[in-house]
Amino acid sequence: MSFHVKYYGMLAEIAGMSDEVWNADASLTVGKFRSQILERYPAMRDKKFKIAVNQKIAEDFVPIETPAEIALLPPFAGG
């Protein structure tokens, strides 16, 4: 399956892009996706970030089902 991944802030700097299409096996969870991300972008390992699935912050156990919009969110800085 494939889905859309968005990068924000310092994570977009590390990825070198603001979004990309991600190809993965079926039955992916947020936690497994996180491992894949850290494998592709090792510089993200020492960064704090949350993962949103369809605009909701999601815990690691949440399954990703297509179509999905996944976003990697570094610490918030509004205000």
């Binding site: 802030g9 310092m10 918030f76 800085a77 205000g79």
Partner: protein, 148 residues
């Protein structure tokens, strides 16, 4: 009290001007049930960092999620506090040092609800809205801001 709370546009490009704040205040003078307005303004500090003094913050956001989160925060505040009106504006793009990037404006018949709602809103916005800030230094470097 408003009965329907339209999803309002929160983001504005660049700094929020004092004149914009004044026009917002003036537009509430016909609402004669209001006794208390409370306003919060976030202003960009010239903090000293390793790369020099901050000259501005470049804001970006996950806009669709941010607008939805603002909407949920607004609804929660309307149900928690006795408010006549509530307005939230946040900058996107570059906001230079000394200028305003966040404007929260609540109005109520009585002061207590206005105070409580103002604090609630600012804390919720800082903690839960996906907005990102790149602090720009004079020498060309930058650091990513993180709310505490």
């Amino acid at each position: 009290m408003e009965n329907t709370h339209k999803a309002k546009k929160v983001f504005v490009q660049g700094p929020i001007s004092p004149d914009f704040v004044a026009r917002s205040i003036a537009s509430h003078q016909s609402k004669t049930g209001i006794g208390a307005h409370a306003i919060f303004l976030g202003q960009i500090r010239a903090d000293q960092k390793d790369g020099g003094a901050v000259t501005g913050i470049e804001y970006t956001a996950y806009e669709e999620m941010a607008e939805q989160t603002f909407h949920e925060i607004r609804e929660a505040a309307f149900s928690k506090f006795e408010l006549s009106c509530m307005h939230i504006y946040h900058s996107l793009g570059l906001v230079p040092t000394g200028e305003i990037s966040l404007f929260v404006f609540v109005s109520s018949p009585h002061r207590r609800a206005a105070f409580e709602a103002l604090e609630y809103l600012v804390e919720e916005i800082k903690a839960n809205v996906p907005i990102f800030g790149k602090e720009i230094m004079g020498e060309g470097g930058h650091v990513w801001k993180e709310n505490s």
